[in-house]
Amino acid sequence: MNIVVLVKQVPDTSAERKLNADDNTLDRESVDAVINEIDEYAIEAGILLKEANDGEVTILTVGPERATESIRKALSMGADKAVHVSDPAVHGSDAIQTAKVIAAALKTIEYDVVIAGSEATDTRMSVVPALVAEAVGLPQLSNARKITVDGGSATIERVSDTGYDVVQASLPAVISVVEKINEPRYPSFKGIMAAKSKPIQTLTVADLGLGADEVGLANATTQVVSFEVAPPRQAGQVVKDEGDGGAKIADFLASKKLI
């Protein structure tokens, strides 16, 4: 079973994230970049499927040159190879364009299942896996907390706001996972060494047969018109409980007309 895992590199959530003042796009330069946390769960899910069914795990990333750091980490966890779409033309692409690039890149890979994270911490849109399914015309199994693969079909438990739905589709399919799915492994020393020689194929938009007018900020379907840094949250009051902590909260709520 061949598996593609979609991995995004994002600015570290614990750093102060910014937009670029000149074109209102995400500032990917000034902060540390990390693997989108949930994508590590997607990588783990891919490796577990491979271990149970044989085959290869291919990492697919659309992102700037420095995203190779994240790709190496994914390879050191145990993925076999990677496809990195890296092209300045992609800068400023929106979710729909990104999904189209991913769909085009998928055409260059043989796979039975595509696994993604449920949400990227930078855009927090939670739409790319659904869009990829739409773009490539495959079934969509999203927000999985459990995946079972049986012959030619996959069944997931999709988390819902009242519990979970059991959803089934034939393969190939696009699956996205939430963090309940597994516990990602840490790369071993051996894994880190091995990753250095695993192949990363770098592709441009032209390599994928996409026109320059299909991607990038100038052709995006959505646009950030302007932005402003919100005033920081007013520092609140913190008191030590002297036996009247509960009553003090009640007073505070009353003063705010919340009760």
Binding site: L19, A133, D165, E228, V239, G245, A247, L253, L258
Partner: protein
């Protein structure tokens, strides 16, 4: 006036509050039309409320099968309705995980664009979004075609305004592609009669500090004294003290209530991602260094097992 399509969310024959918010927001853009998608008989009990909140038309797309599928058929139906409606000013859906995916796939089909988690919809169809945990506010717009917008719950105060609610039947034909992923079972884990997290204007959440499942009654009692929903951190859901449906945060529910009370929760970045745009935040934690206090408008450093019950008692007393 151009139509504005609003996808209706309902539960047990009642329109969800988030939909009333959308119908209210839609009026600044054009004339709201409601779109009901579901099993036969879904629309009938909803029409009264939809009329009361200004729906000029109610597009009814009912089918025996549609409930067996998620996302894809709904996007197909909405694309059909967009065609029927001529050139709608926008399509609005509430920001639930399923609706976000529906919105994205719809925009893809229409060749337009999708904006998620709007907190304000402007009258020209552009939106305001709050990103990076509320640190940055952006004005965005869809550059081509019909804007498809998902709106965050609790961003608009619903207000009634009479509408004709003229029924328009939509033929539903599910393509094979739309039927590719089938729901074979739906399992309900959430119990009780408390408000849903996403609708609630007050939420009380418990974390690892609560210690075990039985002790969660302390959180529930406080919630009940406020008419609040109960939430939890991942530590509490992973421990199995409460169902995962209660998880607030990055991979749980994102909420922005009037009041959020965090009890025995440290305030990890993934938890904050789901609650930090709440209007007022109160924290109870025994560790004065807990990061949740950086966010709190009011915090008490103390033992939750004394502070929370005292607060419950005070609130009950003051309600008289």
């Amino acid at each position: 006036m151009a139509e504005v399509l609003v996808l209706v969310d309902s539960v047990d024959g009642a329109v969800k509050k988030a939909t009333l918010e959308l119908l209210t927001a839609a009026r600044s853009l054009g004339e709201p039309s409601a779109v009901v998608i579901g099993a036969p008989g879904t629309a009938a009990p909803l029409k009264g409320t939809l009329a009361e909140y200004g729906a000029a038309k109610v597009y009814v797309a009912e089918s025996d099968e549609i409930g067996d599928y998620l996302v894809a058929p709904k996007a197909d139906v909405l694309a059909t309705v967009v065609g029927q409606a001529g050139e709608p000013a926008a399509v609005l859906v509430s920001s639930t995980p399923e609706n976000k995916e529906v919105a994205a796939r719809l925009a893809f089909k229409l060749g337009s664009g999708v904006l998620t988690d709007a907190v304000t919809v402007n009258d020209d169809g552009s939106v305001v979004q709050s990103i990076f945990g509320g640190a940055v506010t952006v004005q965005s717009k869809v550059s081509k075609g019909t804007p498809v917008i998902t709106v965050r719950a609790n961003s608009v105060t619903p207000s009634p305004s009479a509408g004709a609610a003229d029924e328009v039947t939509v033929a539903v034909e599910l393509s094979d592609a739309a039927k590719a992923a089938k729901v074979v079972d739906r399992v309900v884990e959430a119990k009780g009669s408390r408000p849903a997290l996403t609708d609630a204007s007050v939420i009380v959440s418990g974390g690892r500090g609560v210690g075990n499942a039985e002790n969660f009654s302390v959180i529930e009692a406080l919630a009940d004294s406020l008419g609040a929903a109960v939430g939890a951190s991942r530590a509490a859901t992973d421990a199995g003290w409460v169902p995962h449906t209660m998880q607030v945060g990055q991979t749980g529910v994102t909420v922005a209530p009037q009041l959020y009370i965090a009890v025995g929760i440290s305030g990890a970045i993934q938890h904050r991602a789901g609650m930090q745009t709440s209007k007022t935040i109160v924290a109870i934690n025994k560790d004065p260094e807990a990061p949740i206090f950086e966010l709190a408008d009011f915090g008490v450093v103390g033992d939750l097992f004394t502070v929370a019950p005292q607060l419950t008692e005070e609130l009950t007393k003051r309600k008289g």
